[in-house]
């Protein structure tokens, strides 16, 4: 008879533990369930489970938000478009806005903004603009060019933003592993040399379409390298 009583008590305890399990996620999501707390006080096993989960919830609230790489957004967008969940081309700022809102680090934000701006301007910049009033001043690799030298293609604002990206990277490059830092340095040095040389050539011979193409490409590559560098720094 006492054995049957024990069995009955055990079954009742198991039933209340099962009920506790079922209501756990709702309780952790903030639903008002006083019976959960009461059961946890009586049952040592469930009390430990609840304490662990609450600790996890607390810790996860204080974790920094990780931003997935740009490729992930592009893949998600492509998949959603392929599945017909979203239609047509979404304006670029719609795609970028969520990233910008959740960014905590100013360097990648400015990098993305600069790239978008740079890409846009490179795309729309007239290649054969020769009229003096339409040309822009372009310092080579962040340095001031000789007076009277000019190259039509890329404007001041873009050079400034590219400079800001570079400054943001330089300020954080010490966090990078030496070999990786060296790779970025070599790449940037190589591109700076190309920018400087093609710029000088364009200044001497503004009609050289090929030299101008190289100048634009070098700027574009530099923006891509800086974007990659800032991504590595942010990790």
């Amino acid at each position: 008879m006492p054995e049957q009583d024990d069995q009955g008590q055990f079954d009742a305890a198991r039933a209340s533990c099962r009920k506790f399990d079922q209501g756990l996620s709702a309780y952790l999501e903030g639903e008002d369930k006083p019976e959960m707390r009461a059961h946890a006080q009586q049952c040592p096993y469930c009390r430990v489970v609840l304490a662990d989960l609450e600790e996890l919830r607390f810790a996860s609230h204080h974790l920094p938000l990780e931003e997935p790489p740009a490729r992930v957004w592009a893949n998600i967008h492509a998949t959603l478009e392929a599945e017909g969940i979203i239609r047509g081309p979404v304006p670029a700022w719609h795609r970028w806005l969520p990233r910008l809102v959740f960014r905590h680090n100013s360097a990648p934000v400015s990098a993305v903004a600069c790239l978008a701006l740079l890409g846009l301007t490179l795309l729309v910049s007239p290649r054969n603009v020769q009229t003096p009033e339409s040309v822009e001043w372009l310092p080579a690799g962040g340095r001031t060019t000789a007076a009277g030298a000019f190259v039509p293609v890329i404007d001041d604002a873009l050079i400034r933003t590219l400079g800001e990206m570079e400054s943001a990277y330089r300020a954080h490059e010490s966090f990078l592993e030496p070999a990786l830092k060296d790779t970025y340095r070599k790449s940037l040095r190589s591109l700076d040399a190309s920018i400087e040389e093609s710029l000088e050539h364009c200044q001497r011979d503004p009609g050289s379409v090929l030299a101008r193409e190289y100048l634009v490409n070098a700027y574009q590559s530099k923006a891509e390298v800086l974007e990659s560098a800032l991504e590595s720094v942010a990790r």
């Binding site: 990786l180 070599k186 790449s187 190309s194 379409v209």
Partner: protein, 301 residues
């Protein structure tokens, strides 16, 4: 029952000392072994055309296509404080996507300790997305829709890839052998070498590295090779049929093919060295440009 001979050397206190010494020796050995390389080996059942994604911090990555509808991976980590996370989707049945991501468990782990060398065998029809921050990537024998490979400084080597291949590197060299799909190879300071491709759309670009192209062209194919300061070397068989448009701002041009000059020049190219003409019937379009690198077009012996 065996007894140790009761000599003075093996008296009870001496044996105790001996036992303690053995333990004292074993403990450091155990610690060293525990901190030694970790290994991960896993196999996933997949579809015939899964997407395989790998993101690695440092080390060598090798991916090979095989006949099985499975992804099999073996990763060796230098430090036990580096982990490779794996995920297969959907969680049940044949996976359509398999992901591997290396991460460090301890923020103090840097440099060589971050190394994880991974070898993956994937279905022939798999599409790849491989990012190896530092270290080489070697992919072989793949027919999937696309293969996207990126590394900061390691050699990227792709052999017998049939899909759309994208290889990007900052300082590493890129070598592409017998590619038959669309190819895009970009490096900043590394060189690009393309050997016997059967691709009809190929683009290679490097700022200060060299570009070497060895092989024939596919009729109606388009081949665009461009460097800034590096040289371009095109080696093709005497029977190759192509229309050549080679231009350089300051570099030299050398050609050993007999070219029929074009009757018109599509663009005025002032102050650029250029070579325009067709060889044979001019089936493929070949565009070579450099800023000051030398361009050489030569016949294969």
């Amino acid at each position: 029952m065996r007894h140790l001979p009761s000599t003075p050397q093996h008296s009870r206190p001496a044996r105790r000392v001996l036992r303690r010494s053995v333990w004292l020796l074993l403990i450091p050995v155990g610690i060293v072994l525990a901190a030694g390389p970790a290994r991960l080996e896993k196999t996933f059942d997949t579809t015939r055309t899964p997407q395989v994604i790998l993101s690695n911090l440092r080390g060598q990555v090798v991916v090979r296509g095989w006949e099985k509808a499975q992804v099999h991976t073996v990763c060796t980590m230098v430090s036990p404080r580096v982990e490779v996370d794996t995920d297969a989707l959907p969680h049940t049945g044949a996976a359509e996507r398999v992901q591997f991501a290396t991460h460090v468990l301890d923020p103090l782990v840097t440099g060589n300790e971050e190394t994880a060398d991974c070898t993956l065998e994937v279905p022939l029809g798999a599409s790849l997305e491989i990012k190896n921050r530092q270290g080489g990537v070697q992919i072989e024998n793949l027919q999937g829709q696309h293969a996207w490979v990126e590394s900061a400084d390691g050699l990227i080597s792709a052999t017998d890839v049939a899909g759309h291949l994208t290889a990007r590197s900052l300082g590493g060299n890129i070598q592409i052998v017998r590619a038959s799909g669309r190819v895009e190879a970009v490096s900043i300071t590394g060189s690009v070498r393309i050997i016997t491709p059967t691709s009809n759309n190929l683009r290679a670009n490097t700022n200060s590295g060299k570009i070497v192209y060895e092989g024939d062209f596919v009729p109606a194919g388009e081949y665009i090779l461009s460097t800034y300061s590096g040289d371009i070397e095109l080696l093709c068989p005497p029977s190759a049929s192509f229309e050549l448009n080679a231009r350089s701002v300051k570099g030299k041009l050398h050609n050993t093919f007999s070219l029929t000059p074009k009757r018109y020049v599509p663009l005025p190219v002032p102050a650029a060295n250029s070579l325009l003409g067709t060889h044979s019937t001019g089936n493929a379009t070949v565009e070579l440009t450099s800023f000051n690198g030398t361009i050489r077009v030569r016949q294969q012996p």
